[in-house]
């Protein structure tokens, strides 16, 4: 009857397996990047479908392989407006760069807007928007750990 593997050897094997999986994921990401699989995507929370709560920011992912999933999440979870590329910069106040470690090494930014007017200058009901801020209030928003668990830093547009 074969001897059972000692627990430590089993743990070591599991650890090696996990490392191998991580390494394989990294390799696949490198290959995908070389072939052109990374894209930018944004979720503009200002413009929502019926039932959604508008917020004064837009989240963008830079160089991600999960752009399609992010786009679908944006519509399904927030009923917001998703699209390829970066967030619009018209009427932007500033942004928070999230210190989130995404598996695909993509970068995440939340860009906050002046919602007192439409991008073309037309009237807009600012009171309808969550997460409103201004230049002075942006550092506090980025530093808010209840909002950004991993932390964030202020970035200029």
């Amino acid at each position: 009857m074969p001897r059972p593997l000692p627990a430590i050897a089993l743990l070591a094997l599991l650890g090696l397996g996990a490392l191998a999986c991580d390494a394989l994921a990294d390799v696949a990401l490198e290959a995908g990047d070389f072939a052109g699989a990374r894209a930018d995507v944004h979720c503009d929370r200002r413009w929502v479908d019926d039932g959604g709560a508008p917020a004064a920011f837009c989240q963008e992912l830079i160089a991600t392989v999960a752009a399609a999933e992010f786009s679908d999440d944006c519509r399904a979870k927030h009923m917001a407006t998703a699209g390829p590329g970066r967030c619009p910069r018209e009427r932007v106040i500033g942004g928070c760069r999230l210190w989130r470690d995404n598996q695909d090494d993509s970068l995440v930014f939340d860009w906050y807007y002046d919602v007192t007017a439409l991008p073309d200058g037309g009237p807009l009901d600012a009171e309808a928007f969550d997460s409103r801020t201004d230049h002075a209030g942006l550092p506090a928003v980025c530093a808010d750990r209840s909002r950004y668990e991993e932390g964030a830093e202020v970035v200029a547009p």
């Binding site: 390799v27 072939a35 052109g36 699989a37 894209a39 995507v41 999960a66 999933e69 998703a82 390829p84």
Partner: protein, 199 residues
């Protein structure tokens, strides 16, 4: 097609696939007899690797993987290799979203000289060529496509430098190589390991 170009095409085909017409055969026999004594001729024949190989390569010139056919040419340890791979993956779990699809076609000229006359199965693995890449970006459930600037059809210059085990009598063959790929956007320092059958 003129008679001369037809003859040239036939000559190339015969060199590639081993058959030779009379003039070529005589010329080769003359070259061999000039350069090798009879005993060395036999040893020289033994040193020649199997002329065909089919192998699977993990990573390497096909980027993620490839299945390739290689035809050794009957002179200077040269060969030509063509392969392909297909990879598709769902990047979004939402219904109606489209997969990311990657097709690669490595096309290489190879050179595999024996590292030692005593052990002709152990060879250098050198090659250069191109890898044709086609990436169809994934789409979200509304059909919006998300691909980078390099998505679509592209070509990468491809090189191979490594070790190869290729027995003269055929059989199991494997290789380990540094296989960098180069596109206008940058260099990918890459490597591959392959295994297959030579015959």
């Amino acid at each position: 097609m003129t008679w001369r170009s037809a003859r040239a095409a036939l000559a190339i085909t015969s060199l590639l696939f081993g058959a030779s017409f009379a003039g070529e055969r005589e010329a080769r026999a003359e070259r061999t007899s000039l350069s090798l004594a009879p005993a060395e001729q036999r040893r020289g024949d033994d040193r020649s690797p199997a002329l065909n190989a089919i192998f699977f390569e993990a990573l390497g010139s096909g980027l993620l993987y490839s299945v390739s056919y290689e035809r050794r040419l009957p002179w200077h340890d040269l060969g030509v290799r063509a392969g392909g791979s297909f990879f598709t993956y769902a990047t979004s779990a939402y219904g109606g979203s489209g997969n990311l699809t990657l097709v690669s076609i490595p096309l290489l000229a190879t050179w595999a000289p024996a590292l030692s006359s005593k052990y002709p199965a152990h060879r250098a693995n050198v090659g250069a060529g191109a890898t044709v890449l086609w990436l169809d970006p994934p789409t979200d459930s509304r059909g919006t496509s998300y691909g980078g600037d390099r998505a679509g059809l592209g070509v990468a210059a491809s090189a191979v430098l490594g070790y190869r085990y290729l027995p003269p009598s055929g059989g199991f063959t494997f290789a380990l190589a540094f296989t960098p790929l180069l596109r206008a956007s940058g260099l990918l320092p890459w490597g591959g390991v392959s295994a297959g059958i030579a015959f």
